[in-house]
């Protein structure tokens, strides 16, 4: 064989090998985006650049990076949006949502929503879209809502918006009393608090035990409760089964101290490890439609899940003690109560709006935050 034909053969073999490793994947046909005909937002464009599929062992890893451009086609200003994301073929029992709170989108204005997904599925799978995206809800200025609300996004977005109003009011008052320097101090404090918050990995399973905690006996641990000034509901007793770094089936008894019936309560859940470090583990919500608490009555909030805590890629975080606090309450008429800023402690997460304003300060300085606050 001549040198030339050897090169041609080698090039052909190389091309064949590369072709064999390529995975045919069309991101556009893998995604279906459906908005209702009377939707207050319109889809302008979908960018799926950088999406791709890679074989891994006997499975396929699909990365979908969607940049949606939506337009407010309503006559009201949009404050938040929640999209429902399902991948029925990949996870039959699983669904997801992507919410963007703290928006200020005027009628006719466009805004982006990013969805970044990774799917692991068998190499051979059925045809049709892998991921379906639909609208779960849109919150407008004045707390008006549109949407099927399958994920109870109305309540979540109302809570975020009320927290946003509370925090903007506070930062405006700081600006008025202490000027940009005072606001700058607040932003720096907020960034420092966010950086100091411990990062804990959580694994959750519904019902039963998520994993066995080797050699750790199970015990009932009682909650201590933080008093939240002005809370219409008081947590009076609570406990969870704890074994090592795993807590399950938290149960909390609550009392409605207000004069209005309550239909939903969420209790923030702080865990202290055996070294005394505190972290926000999550929250214990009342089951949907399960709680209608008349004034003066007590009820029970319980969660049939198991949570396991770890840090540094798998190092267990043994649970020492637990603290609960009322994080928000929804009355039967749909109105929502959130705690005042004075009641918040460092271990509680900042509101989405505080997170956004602090990040704006970090990237663009105090002038941008002042300008942003003036828009409201």
């Amino acid at each position: 064989m001549s040198m030339c034909s050897k090169w041609i053969t080698a090039a052909f073999a190389g091309a064949l090998a590369l072709w064999a490793q390529d995975v045919p994947f069309d991101p556009h046909s893998s995604i279906e985006i459906k908005l209702p005909p009377d939707s207050p937002v319109a889809l302008l464009s979908t960018n799926v650049r950088d999406s791709g599929a890679t074989p891994r062992g006997g499975a396929m890893v699909i990365d979908l990076h969607m940049a949606l451009s939506l337009r407010n086609s309503d006559s009201r200003t949009i404050r938040g949006i929640t999209l429902l994301v399902t991948a029925q073929e990949v996870t039959a029992g699983g669904k997801a949502s992507v919410a963007v709170p703290s928006l200020n989108v005027a009628p006719g204005q466009a805004f982006p929503v990013r969805i970044d997904l990774r799917l692991l599925r068998p190499l051979q799978a059925g045809a049709g879209p892998l991921v379906k995206v639909s609208l779960d809800g849109v919150l407008f200025e004045g707390l008006d809502f549109y949407g099927p609300n399958r994920l109870n996004s109305r309540r979540s977005m109302t809570v975020w918006e009320m927290e946003a109003e509370r925090d903007r009011k506070y930062f405006k008052s700081v600006l008025a009393s202490s000027g940009p320097e005072g606001l700058q101090r607040e932003m720096l404090n907020s960034l420092a608090r966010q950086d100091e918050r411990p990062h804990i990995d959580v694994r959750m399973s519904r019902g039963g035990r998520s994993v066995t905690s080797v050699g750790e006996p199970e015990r009932m641990v009682r909650f201590a409760f933080l008093k939240m000034p002005g809370s219409p509901v008081e947590a009076i007793d609570g406990w969870a089964e704890v074994a090592g770094n795993e807590a399950r089936t938290p149960t909390i008894q609550v009392l409605n101290r207000s004069s209005r019936p309550v239909r939903y309560v969420e209790i923030g859940w702080i865990v202290k490890d055996r070294q005394g470090h505190e972290f926000l583990a999550g929250s214990v919500p009342a089951a949907e439609g399960d709680l209608l608490l008349p004034p003066g009555q007590t009820g029970r909030v319980l969660q049939d899940t198991a949570l396991r805590f770890s840090r540094n890629a798998g190092e267990p975080v043994p649970i020492g003690s637990m603290t609960g606090f009322v994080s928000h309450v929804e009355f039967a008429d749909g109105r929502v109560w959130v705690p005042g800023r004075a009641a918040l402690s460092a271990v509680m997460a900042p509101s989405p709006e505080e997170q956004r304003l602090a990040d704006l300060y970090r990237t663009k300085g105090v002038g941008a935050v002042v300008e942003e606050l003036r828009k409201y």
Binding site: V85, A96, V98, M204, V284, L307, Q355
Partner: protein, 187 residues
């Protein structure tokens, strides 16, 4: 040390599916590189898991083949009987031939149904409940050998929070400056 092989090549190497030359090249790299060696070990473990799940039920191939041979023979004999009784010479093809063809066609169909490629990852085991977990890159719901993860792309700091049947991740998207709250639910 040579350049790191791609993730796809490491996966193919773990499965013994690389060409001889590429296998040699990857093998040489893996012998020196701990990270790639770990990746190969993970791919091998995953492959073993998926193979275990994808195993076909036991089939008695010998008895099946014997049964099929008997069916063919029966078809041929039936054809002979019919041919002896009526002998329609004017048709231009023998019924014996038709019976043989029908038997062969049946054999082909059955063979195809038995031998068609099975999915590498089989059905989700009923006892494997869905689990949600957080990681540095997002929140993932896993069910059997399948998973869906919402990634915290372009995030500086992320707040994770479990609530009821959902796990949430909240962060500021560094591109848009918007707060994004991802939630993954388990049923």
């Amino acid at each position: 040390m040579s350049k790191h092989p791609s993730e796809a090549n490491l996966a193919l190497y773990a499965g013994g599916e690389l060409s001889r030359w590429r296998r040699w090249s990857v093998e040489r790299h893996v012998a020196e590189c701990t990270a790639c060696r770990d990746a190969v070990a993970q791919f091998s473990a995953l492959r073993e898991q998926t193979r275990a799940m994808a195993e076909l039920p036991d089939v008695a191939w010998d008895s099946l083949a014997a049964e099929m041979r008997a069916n063919i023979r029966l078809g041929l004999e039936a054809g002979e009987c019919v041919a002896e009784r009526s002998s329609p010479q004017h048709l231009g093809f023998s019924l014996r031939g038709v019976a043989a063809c029908a038997s062969l066609a049946m054999l082909l169909v059955v063979s195809f149904l038995i031998e068609r490629p099975a999915p590498r990852v089989a059905e989700i085991k009923a006892d494997e409940a869905a689990v949600i977990e957080t990681s540095g890159s997002g929140i993932q719901v896993k069910e059997g050998g399948r998973a869906m993860m919402l990634l915290n792309a372009r995030a500086r700091t992320v707040e994770y929070q479990a609530s009821g049947s959902a796990m949430g991740a909240r962060y500021v998207d560094s591109d848009t400056g918007q707060v994004t709250i991802n939630n993954v639910y388990v049923q």
